[in-house]
Symmetry: C4
Subunit: 266 residues, 4 copies
């Protein structure tokens, strides 16, 4: 569990945190506190960087039981604490609900974990940079190496094809499976009129991909407005970077520091 | 009344004892402190999210007397406290003015409440994302499900048709009625060269619609610049979401926490 | 002089303020502390709202001697305190220099005060929204009523016509006079490849115009990208608003509160 | 070494006693604490202004040994303190590594110092404004005098020409030399699909150029979207400003105050 060592910080958190969260047992069988904390940090980073506002969520596959995943109860990521983390099976049923409300769209996560054994972190966002690419015919492609993972292509999932007229939410397993199928073996899929799903081998990479996908989309929009051919990261370059990824820890440590307000520069 | 004696002390009081404002002589007959506080929070949220800067306002219909509404005295929303809330009849006359200055454009609210018995919250903004759609022929349409309520169409009200050459302000009941008539049964109307009016069944929904309308406009502008047909949220999808709206409380709780500075992530 | 009443705030300012500023006598003959404070607030507002970063400045005509004006020593507006305010004659010579460095471009101010007896506040900015209109043929025109004062037209001053090849700075009286002449009787002139000069009957109006000019430019850029005819604020509407200006104090009080960090919402 | 024991205490120490970091075992032979502190400030400014996020770096040539340069260990600039500064020779070998991780792309710096004896500060960024100009045929040119140094032209370096299919990183001396050669005698070169390298006669100028290059790129993008010919800063004007540069200290002092949280307006 997240335990601030400073008395002052602790008092501050105690004063500010929802009372419900303070006493709840966060312990989940087979999951150590550091793994829970990692997921809390992922939530806070996505909020602090404007990738997720009130809606959207991030999950991590259970570290010792691959048929389970962990995700917060239905709560805005900026407010998530360790006590809010719940456990789900891959059908997105809660293991120990205890009356907590759940994200309607948790099937995005469960179905992705089912179809993608290589995936251990899933992010769902409405990040504003990507929506234009989700509602036009213009393909999202990498203009910067930090988003080179987009080189494999970014499918746009059309919920109408899976569910006809819906309320746009991935509110059941069938829709989740359709989305996961559209995602295929790729890191990112856009959801028409909605947002995206981003996956990674761990939650740090999934979070970083969500951040860099949004940044790339914004820069690509400007580049396209400038006109003329775009010199994208090539598939060969992208593949080389897939094999030689940089160390994502530098970004994680910074973003964590900023999100948890421990950066000296903050 | 809430009288900060020092900047720092005030900040601490604001963070730790928001209820302080409820003890102010804000009491309005038949309105409990929580309803007043809700309106204060609505003001702060609209300010914190950049939807309203100095000008613009939000009101709520009187909870027990449908022929009255509540709104702050003429003051920027970021600065509104419980003691600033006034009561108006639907002709926008103050019930108990006590010398306080009033918004010139309060008729936007009064006339909307008159024509729309289903409406209990009204927001008027100059939010920057929507202005381009208020001065061009391009219709504002939903590109993201969070703004699906725009599927019914977004009228652009032309003050010239109602008032000829004006100072652009909805400064009397006739102009207010003209705007409310243009709004019709819809959630949002744009005001040419000015901003918009956004309504809802309660103030939380009205605030959320104001936020999502601005976000949608910004994303739609980028999508249109990318070119080609836009795959908008369809009227059928919008109608389905009208019948099955998500729970707006998740956004409200986050935005309130951020605006009132109680978010642990803040 | 600006004297925080809170002991804690005072200690904070004392710890942070440049030592030079702390002991300097800010008193300027015939100018009361409130007028100096008003100019300090104008500096801070322009900084806090992103209208001026390191470069740019704001001045006020001397309240009792119309042949003088007040402006900070050469310093970024965010850092200006009462002790930094200097007095200049309309040729932009310092009245009592005391070794302080001065803005090279103070002639923008002095020459505007000479040619415009109606002007009592002058702002010079590099605000990013307006630059595109300073380097293209596209006229800056009002798309929102808060910037209706632009209805009279916004001249673009070409320094080449006045000074040939220069370092782009208004570094002498001749260039300042040329700029003031281009401004004519208008509230705003753009400076090609540089920024703008904004004037008003008092410093509050000049500051508000600088803010709203930038906002209008950003919104107009998006509206133009949407395409089709723009429904601008008409000259008649603008003229009516010139005769019936809203009360600028609401914006000033908010912006001051935010800039001086006294907003309860801050 | 600077070891914060509590978040709040650390923030206070950072604000009130920035010199604390100077007591760390950061001592590098022939380099006084002020020079180290200057580089720390450069790091923080680039982070605070959004020019560098997690990735990117800034270096300074050793003040007394021109065959050496100083740069942080591999760490996000927002987090850099004096104790993180390392010394490198111009082949980018560490002088005294002590097990610290190093930036893979430090060759950008070493090779630039080799080829450019006039350069004493180097910045490498992924700043979002410039990327569109790094992936299109549209030349980056100065629209504002603060970026007049771009008048000499901004080369776009194509890593494919130097290294074929790479992981896009300047991960060896040959790639660094190729980039430095493309930069030539200019202040800025764009790196296709990656970012830019910005140099200056000292670190303050290099930092300012990185900031102003990004701002110029953003404004030029909008100006180009408005359409029609752009009235750029001319080569003659740029050359004149090269000979008569303004005093960069005003920007540095402001940005330092904001980045180190000492601005009274902060």
């Amino acid at each position: 569990m997240f335990r601030p060592t400073s008395v002052i910080a602790a008092a501050w958190l105690a004063a500010l945190a929802p009372a419900a969260a303070q006493n709840a047992p966060a312990a989940i069988e087979g999951v150590d506190a550091a793994a829970i904390e990692e997921l809390v940090v992922a939530n806070r980073i996505l909020a602090e960087r404007g990738i997720i506002d009130a809606y959207g969520h991030v999950s991590v596959r259970h570290p010792t039981n691959p048929n389970r995943y962990l995700m917060a109860r239905a709560l805005a990521p900026a407010l998530v604490t360790a006590a809010d983390i719940m456990e789900f099976d891959l059908d997105s049923n809660p293991v120990d609900r205890r009356g907590r409300s759940m994200f309607t769209e948790r099937y995005i996560h469960g179905e992705a974990y089912k179809l993608r054994p290589d995936v251990n972190g899933v992010v769902h966002t409405h990040s504003m940079g990507v929506i234009p690419f989700a509602v036009t015919q213009v393909p999202l492609k990498p203009v910067i190496h930090t988003a080179s993972f987009l080189h494999v292509g970014v499918p746009v999932w059309e919920i109408r094809e899976a569910g006809g007229v819906t309320n746009m939410l991935v509110s059941n397993a069938a829709l989740g499976k359709s989305l996961a199928t559209a995602l295929g073996d790729k890191p990112v899929a856009l959801m028409r009129g909605h947002g995206n799903v981003v996956v990674g081998p761990n939650v740090r990479v999934a979070v970083a991909r969500a951040v860099f996908t949004d940044e790339n989309a914004r820069m690509q929009s400007v580049a396209l407005a400038l006109g003329g051919p775009i010199n994208y990261i090539s598939p060969e370059e992208g593949a080389k970077r897939d094999r030689e990824p940089g160390d994502p820890s530098r970004a994680w440590e910074l973003w964590k520091a900023l999100a948890m307000k421990k950066a000296p520069a903050n």
